[in-house]
Each structure stands twice: as structure tokens, then as C-alpha cells.
Symmetry: C2
Subunit: 404 residues, 2 copies
């Protein structure tokens, strides 16, 4: 028998770690577990009966096509429906500016593949989506984090960092940013700040990856234009997905960008998975064409808005003083800060014993800070579980504070 | 505007090319085109009405689960069904030895990611599946081709090449082999030769990637055991897919390998696309559980067997003398050799004008040889198109031979 596969692995293969989030998701299967860990949509938002009709229709009318290979760019009907939808929202794009991906995670992977050489720098938020950071690290990228205020990346810190890295001769490829209801921090970047960040990207000639899975799930406040809409130089590449607005079980996302980048992504996707499932693409295209996406979205927004409110109410009622949290205007997550010195990894261990899970905030900080923070998902659990889960968490945290 | 994205691209991003096959697939849309180019299954083999029932059942009984994220390893029911099916065929594996991928192409990409550093060598057949070669090249691998006889890779040539590369201090990671009804050559490696190749892999401590998408589509002759079944040291990693035996529109494949490799693939898949569609996995699991896969497979085998026979009959009737072809015992392709000096790229250009397409054999040779060869797919086109297409091809080839 070969003793260990380690000797055959690539540098990247050797350095891989299991994602903390994906591993915690497995805990969901433990009976009685209340999980605020995953970024799971609520099953109540899945339009099961509409989909039953649509799938029957797709198989009836497009059976052979839906079961055949699709083109790498994506199903023509779905690309058309998405392009038109964006145009109706004021974004001036054509079919050449859009590719379908196997979820947004694939878009992150393909962008990393076409853009990043080992040692290249990526600028990200402190904190920032773990799955994005891991996708970049796999290609040997160095991550440099920028502190956030309540409007997102702080421009002064961003420019200083970029300028400093440049002086050191480092190659910076792009800024990775989640401007709407940021995962994990729940922060939204206002338009003025978006413009400022684009201005810095222009000055230092960087690309910008705008990761926008939650944008359409806004409970309150005014929508801010997408960074790709504000961009005038073709340097913003935007990632969207059906995972939070329809179903993550379909694994369908899309990328908007300048035609040259989209073309490279097509080449990269050819070797990555040839194409995304024609079957699910045709289902989604029909779903949009029938006007059901926006209807279902309204219900989803209402549901998640209630759950956010309820989670905040429970936090207010049960959490010890000195514990603070963000109050996001949309999305799926809020971010909790414990008193300094309290380690959320310790809290997590004890919480799991009490059947409640979350993700430690430190997972999202590329500089290993944020040890007293935690990400809570409010979309998945029904209100009684939210209440019970927050009570359990509050009791663990109270004990930790007393013991510290 | 940014002038060109080239300056932002990685080494890999710069070196990418569009796949000849995927590009030719686009030609299918031209009216009147007869295509022997793609590796497309016949739409007649898609069990549309069975799937209608099953999808309704899945949405009825497992609606929320099928629309939610799956685990990265794959849907438990599908992994169980596949493991049991392999065990019933004599392959001693457990759940730890199997991961679901987004088609076999993703398996190739993930294996390349975890195994290959730039400059590492991969040993492949001359010719060999283009999508595999491209997946490896993207990670900077060097490809070294081994000539095939009518039993596949020639062991003497294989050992000599490996030994020579070793002496030069080159790092060889694995042998890439398609032992059943090879794409493109249509050759099947007999068990004795499989054992010989495994023996060489052991001697030089290499891994073996057994890519096996066509294995179950055998028209005649005795099945040869999978290389992973013959392997006693855990070095063979095998790739299987539903693309040719059920539907490529689902994008579902699986990998069999030692538990440590599977574990690394899980980590790599986490950053690549999180998981494969739960929806399509649950559909396929139910399809297998109901015993429909084997029933449908029998029909597929009968249909493709007839088409192979008919294509060979047409080749015999219409091709000029000095044109030869393989007569595969299964699979989707046969491989045509034109007289030396006839360039199949030239033939392809003229063929496309006459509305018939194929893939030039040279695409499959990593050493740029095989310029007088062509791959013909016999699964997709119905008999009248096979006849008409071969007649058109024969006339183009005859003219080329006359003109040479």
C-alpha cells in the first residue's frame, strides 16, 4: 500500500484545509441542534409547487435539450433572461458580459485561476467571506485585510495598504469586496464609498471583484447601485447567484464583467466542468420568464426581515451587557462582538454541547484577529429556534464572561 | 477603459485556449449540419418520461432537502447507491472511497489541482482525451505521450519514457489512462495490459488516473476489470460519470479512490463549487434505486451498437482505399486514419462547408502528431445522417487524396 498521498500532492494540495463552515454544516444532522452556522436559506422560501409545474413543462417541451450538454457560456434562454433583468434594473450589459457558473463559488475559483499566481496579493475586508478567501489561497495568493467601519472598507486604510504593498514591489491583482449586507459583518457600503473604492482601484490599476449574493434581499433602506454599474473603466467583475434568492440546491450563479474577462472565464470553465447543468438552467430560465422570481423574492424578503428583527429582539433580551451586534438592512447574517478577551472558539465548543452552533468570527479574518466575534445566520431557523438558540448562546457567553 | 485584461492574468490565465471540441459543438446550431464532432449521447437515450415521474416524486418527498445545499462529499443516498452498485460488480469499496463531482471534468480539474505543480509530468496516451490534457495543462503540467497499439499504451515505451524522465530528474505524478473504449481511439486495454501498466506505476511509484466514462457501454466482448479493482496498493484513482449512461445535462460524476485522496478532493471541491446540485443528485439516486439505470443502459447499448455497425458499414461502402478506422467494442467514438500526408484540419475546413463536422485527431496528440487522423462520434446522429455524413466526408477526403 502507498503509505500516504502527501508525497504526490501539489503545493496547493498540501496546503488545503477543510472549510470551517462546511464542517460545521455537518453538525446540523445532530438531533436537536439549532444552527446559526450555515448560510442556509429557509426551506420555506423554496417554491416547491411552482417548480413541480415548471420541471414538468421543461421536460415536456425541452426534454432532450435539457438533458444534453449546454454551451460553456450557459443556456441561451437563461443568459437572455438575466441580461434583460439587469438591463431593466439600469445596468447596461449585453450577452457578452455574462457567463453562467456552477454557483458563485465556481466564479470565485475560476477568477482565482485566471488572475492569481502564487505570491500575488488580494485585498479583502477584515472580516470577509471565508469561501472567497479559501478560493484565492488555493492558488497561492496572499491576503491583505482592510479594517471596516460601518460603511465597509475604510478608504484611507485601503489606499495606504495598497500604496505600501506597491512600494514593497508586491503585485496586487484585485480588491475583493461584498458591498451588500456583507458576509459575515452585515455591513452595506453606501454609493459614495463604492465610488471612492473604485477611484482607488483606478489610481492603482487594480481589478475589483464585487461578490453580491445577498443584494436582492433588502428589508429596508435604499438600494445602492452595483459597483459594476458605477464602474466606467471595465475593472469591476460582479458575482451573482440564485443560491439565496431561489435555491442553493441548483448550483447556479452568474458573473458580469467586461467581455474579455468573460471570455477567459469561458476558457477556464471548459476545463473545470465543461458547462453548468442544462437541466437546472432551463428550469430557472422558465421560472424567471414566468415572473415568479420577483414574486418569491418578496416573500423571502418579508420572512428574513421578520427573522432578523426577532433575532435582534432576542439578542437584546438575553445577551449579557457588553455584547454588541450589527443590525443589517438585508442579507442572511449578523455579526456579534463579545467583550475583548472572550474567545468565540471556546464559546463555540461549549455551545455545540448545548446544541447550538454558529461560525467563529476569526474564520473570516485573514490576519487571525476577530477572536471575540461570531457570525449568526438568521434566515434558516424558525422563530422558536431563534429564541431558544439565542438563550442557549447567551447562557454560554454569560458563563464565559463570569469565568474570565 | 482598461485596455486589455492581459496584464492582470495569471500565467495559467494567459496560456488558456478554447477547447477545439467545445468550439466545434457550437457549429451544431448551423442548420443542416451533421455532426460527428461532440461526444454527445443520443437524445433518444434520455428517459424523459421516467424522469418526469421521478422529479415529481423527489420534489414531493424531498422538496426542501433537494433545493438546499448538499454536503461536499455528495448526497448520501446517491453515494450509497453507487457504492452498493460497485460492490455488486465486485469492487470492494466503502463510502469513504467515493466523492460526487460536477461531471468527470470537475474530477479531472480537482485532481490536477491537488496533484500538479507547474513542471510536473503527466504520462498520457497518444492520442488521449483533450479535456483531460487541457485540465492538466492549466496547472502547468508537462504532458508526455506514449504510443498506443491495439491494446493501449505500449508497456515497453511507457517504462522507457518514465525511466528516461526520472533520469533527467523530472517529477512524474501520474499516468492518465482511458482503458475502456478510449477517447478518441476506441481502444480497450485488456486485463493483462492493465496489470502490466499498474506494475510499472508501482515500480516507479506513480499514481494512475483511470478515466472511465464509457465502460458500461459495451456492445460485445468480455468486460475487463477496472484498474482500481486490479490495483492492490491504493494508487489507482477512477473517474466515472452519468454523462454517457444517463444524461450529461445533469453534470454528475464520481471518483473512486483511496480515502486519503478522496479527503483531499473534498477539500478542493469546497473551494471549487461547495457541492454538486442536491436536486440532480437526488433525482439520480432515486433513478438508480428504482432499477431504471440498468434498464435504460441496455437500450443505450443496443442503440449505439447498431449505430457503430452502421457507421462502419458506411465507411466500408464510401471511404476511399487507404483510409482505415478502429472498430471499438463499445463507447461513442471511432478513430479514422487518413493516408499519410493528408491533413485532417484541411479536411475539416472543407467538411464544414459541406455541413459535416468531426474533431481533428491532432487535437488529442500532446506532441502535435496525428495530423492525418480524425475522431468520429457514432452515438449522436441517426442512421440517415450517419450515411449522408460519411458520404460527404468520403467525398471531401477523396478530393484531398486526388489533390495531394
Amino acid at each position: 500500500m502507498i503509505k500516504s498521498v502527501k508525497k504526490y500532492l501539489s503545493v496547493s494540495g498540501k496546503s488545503m484545509k477543510r472549510s470551517a463552515i462546511r464542517e460545521i454544516l455537518k453538525l446540523l444532522q445532530k438531533p436537536g441542534m439549532i444552527s446559526f452556522a450555515g448560510g442556509l436559506p429557509s426551506p420555506e422560501t423554496f417554491p416547491v409547487s411552482d417548480l413541480k409545474e415548471i420541471v414538468a413543462e421543461v421536460l415536456e417541451k425541452h426534454g432532450p435539450e435539457s438533458l444534453q450538454y449546454s454551451t460553456t457560456e450557459g443556456d441561451p434562454a437563461l443568459r437572455k433572461a438575466l441580461t434583460e433583468r439587469h438591463r431593466s434594473h439600469g445596468l447596461d450589459i449585453s450577452l457578452d458580459n455574462l457567463i453562467i457558473t456552477t454557483g458563485s463559488q465556481q466564479a470565485l475559483d475560476l477568477l482565482a485561476k485566471i488572475l492569481l499566481d502564487p505570491g500575488d496579493y488580494v485585498i479583502c475586508g477584515l472580516p470577509s467571506y471565508l469561501g472567497g478567501l479559501n478560493a484565492f489561497s488555493v492558488y497561492g495568493a496572499k491576503l491583505k485585510g482592510i479594517p471596516l467601519d460601518d460603511q465597509g472598507m475604510i478608504p484611507g486604510e485601503l489606499e495606504e495598504t495598497v500604496s505600501h504593498l506597491r512600494q514593497l514591489g508586491k503585485k496586487i491583482k484585485f480588491i475583493y469586496i461584498i458591498p451588500d449586507f456583507q458576509n459575515p459583518a452585515g455591513i452595506t457600503v453606501p454609493e459614495s464609498r463604492r465610488l471612492k473604492i473604485i477611484e482607488i482601484a483606478e489610481k492603482y490599476d487594480l481589478l475589483v471583484i464585487e461578490d453580491s449574493p445577498y443584494r436582492e434581499i433588502r428589508f429596508e433602506g435604499e438600494p445602492q447601485r452595483m459597483m459594476c454599474e458605477l464602474d466606467t473603466t471595465g475593472r469591476v467583475i460582479s458575482l451573482c447567484t440564485f443560491s439565496k434568492i431561489l435555491s442553493p440546491g441548483f448550483r447556479v450563479g452568474w458573473v458580469i464583467g467586461n467581455a474579455e474577462i468573460i471570455d477567459r472565464l469561458v476558457m477556464a470553465k471548459q476545463t473545470a466542468d465543461l458547462c453548468t447543468s442544462a437541466f437546472v438552467q432551463k428550469i430557472i430560465a422558465r421560472y424567471i420568464e414566468k415572473g415568479l422570481l420577483d414574486l418569491n423574492l418578496r416573500k423571502t424578503i418579508a420572512l428574513y426581515g421578520e427573522r432578523r428583527n426577532y433575532m435582534i429582539e432576542c439578542l437584546r433580551n438575553y445577551m449579557p451587557a457588553d455584547v454588541t451586534w450589527t443590525e443589517p438592512q438585508g442579507g442572511l447574517f449578523l455579526f456579534v462582538t463579545l467583550p475583548a478577551g472572550i474567545d468565540s472558539d471556546q464559546v463555540l465548543k461549549k455551545s455545540i454541547e448545548k446544541n447550538v452552533a454558529f461560525v467563529s468570527g476569526s474564520s473570516f479574518f485573514c490576519n487571525d484577529s476577530g477572536r471575540n466575534t461570531m457570525r449568526l445566520n438568521f434566515s434558516f431557523s424558525p422563530p422558536p429556534d431563534i429564541r431558544e438558540g439565542i438563550m442557549r448562546l447567551a447562557s454560554v457567553i454569560s458563563e464565559e464572561i463570569k469565568g474570565s
